[in-house]
Amino acid sequence: MTILKNRLFWPAAILVVLLVINAFTSNQFVTVRDGHLFGSLIDILRGSAPLVLVALGMTLVIATGGIDLSVGSVMAISGAVACLLISDLGNQNSVGSVLLIMLVAIGVSLLAGLWNGTLVAIIGIQPIIATLILMVAGRGIAQLITDGQIINVQSGPYATIATGFFLALPVAFLIAVAAVVLITLLTRRTALGLLLESVGGSPTASRLAGIRAKRITVMVYVVSGGFAGLAGLIYSANIKSADSIAAGNLIELDAILAVVIGGTALIGGRFSIAGTVLGAVLIQALGVTVVAIGVPSDATLLFKAVVVVALCLSQSPEFRAKVFGRFKPKPVVRAEATA
């Protein structure tokens, strides 16, 4: 009974259904090949890594009542920076240099986040418009970096972060897991989560309770930028090239959707990391399923619409009460009858 009442029950159920469909349509769901796991489930987990990362950052931003539209552009910038630098390397397979370059790219992304955070918290611009600036200009910057071309790299170590395997599991998946664990620890083992929720719940009350709301706000945008940068690296490593136009295009929408499916309200306050992860994987699985069951491209969007409608209705307690309520007697009424 209580599990049915959980907000995340229905998204989880839909995810399971999608995975079952995939298990049936694909020839290998999970198998072992060349000493590592392989199959459509693994593809989904690996493919969802960038979205999970972006959505994680987005969750924190949304928890403070903000929004970050610039994540896609930051992904493009980070991929562009990394590929440009790597392509200039004498030896693209040098692990040290590649790692350093990735750090540089993430550093740039953190700066982008700092920019957003400053506009929102210090100058006081509404988050949607503050991050829109970088959303528009950022992709231009990425295009400048790559000169509008796709920069190819042939770096084994770089490709590893997207397509490599470690302990039989995809590295991208492991990175996402690490990020989830990190954020979970950071928000739930320290007081950060509480302070975030407090700022999102009521900025005025938080300030008067002595919380440095501005500092926290800046911080979440920086974190969001950093994760977007990491996601951009995985995205570009996956195709061994920097595609500054396509990278992260419209990912902000998916990320926000993932956060909302995960039960975090857009007005801020309480947030759920687990929910976000569930939402992100669900979105990825949905995309894969559409292809796997061969929905014709002119009906793809309609199909997605139906799923999203079903999802958002299933998450509404009011809807569930109306639809399922008729079949079960309300506990409250029963209690009264016996009283």
Binding site: L134, V136, R139, V260, K304
Partner: protein, 342 residues
């Protein structure tokens, strides 16, 4: 005037508080400061354009601004209502695509133009009403409900036809080609007038009707509005219906503008509309802002675009960067000006 039991002290002193230098004269203006600041910055931006580019000063630049942004303007008007209640409507761009595709398909199929017009406007409103109902009754977040609406509307459009469909209907063409001369060599088209009419009507509705004031109240605090006995549900659904209607009307204007329908039309327009509202000083959390502000927001984005076109030597990358820079400069200046004056 009132006889009371207690010896109440003289309270007349409250009136003209000597310590309160906040002059009464400034007060009524205070709420218009963001709009005035935006307007002033808009004028500055325009003057900069005139100073820098040949032919920028021609009246047709301004006239075209209204005409080229007619669709965005109409959609933004609807969006303003939604945002004022503290909601958001992501489906508008998709409703446009659905409307244009349907209009073109039906007209191609020989349906009478008037029937088509009424039908598509009805359909847009209906979709909006549906979203509003889901948001109100099932307490689904506006963002996710209208995102589903976006998928649905564009899904329908793509399902009807993926390719672009020309409109060869005489009425549509006639309206499309009808010119309204304003001055020597300056003409505008009916779409611009429709857009301006939409702005004026919306401004009047917001300022002078109960519905309009309820919209503000809900945006201020929906819970309080409910406790004050305002028709919160009805208003909220009406607002999304209105936005759906405006989007459909925008779609019709689009189909007139381009005499065609296409399932990818209006892609991303929702963001433009939201941005225009915000630039115009409408608070995304609801309860504060004006349609005229939204109008200014549309003009700002339109003017930025015009400047970019007149600049003429920017490739895609620089176009994006300059748009971002101009947007940034504008927003920050606006912010600083309003803060100073306050």
């Amino acid at each position: 005037m009132m006889t009371t039991v207690d010896v109440t002290p003289e309270t007349g002193g409250k009136k003209g508080s000597p310590v309160n230098p906040r002059s009464r004269v400034y007060r009524p203006n205070a709420k218009y400061i963001p709009i005035l600041a935006t307007l002033a910055l808009l004028v500055i931006m325009y003057s900069a354009g005139v100073a820098n580019y040949e032919n920028f000063g021609q009246p047709s630049v301004i006239v075209n601004l209204f005409r080229d942004n007619a669709v965005l303007l109409v959609v933004t008007v609807g969006m303003t209502f939604v945002i004022l209640t503290g909601g958001i409507d992501l489906s508008v761009g998709a409703v446009i695509s659905m409307t244009t595709t349907l209009t073109a398909t039906l007209l191609q199929g020989g349906w009478p133009p008037l029937v088509v017009l009424v039908l598509v406007l009805l359909l847009g409103s209906l979709l909006g009403a549906g979203q509003g109902a889901v948001i109100h009754f099932f307490k689904v977040e506006p963002f996710i409900a209208t995102l589903a609406g976006l998928f649905l509307a564009r899904g329908i459009a793509l399902f009807i036809n993926q390719a672009s469909i020309p409109i060869r209907d005489e009425t549509w063409k006639a309206i499309s080609e009808y010119r309204i001369p304003l001055a020597d060599g300056v003409v505008t088209k009916p779409v611009a007038l429709v857009a301006i009419a939409a702005v004026l009507i919306a401004a009047a509705v917001l300022a002078w009707t109960r519905f309009g004031r309820n919209v503000y109240a809900i945006g201020g605090s929906a819970d309080s509005a409910l406790l004050m006995g305002l028709p919160v549900g009805r208003t909220r659904i009406a607002v999304y219906t209105l936005s759906g209607f405006c989007a459909a009307l925008g779609g019709v204007l689009f189909s007139i503008n381009s005499t065609s329908g296409w399932a990818l039309q209006g892609n991303g327009l929702e963001l433009d509309a939201i941005a225009a509202c915000v630039i115009g000083g409408v608070l995304l959390t609801g309860g504060s802002g004006y349609v005229f502000g939204a109008l200014l927001g549309v003009l700002v984005t339109g003017l930025i675009q015009t400047i970019i076109i007149f600049q003429g030597d920017l490739n895609a990358a620089w176009t994006r960067i300059i748009v971002g820079v101009l947007l940034f400069a504008f927003i920050v200046l606006q912010r600083l000006v309003t803060r100073k004056v306050k």
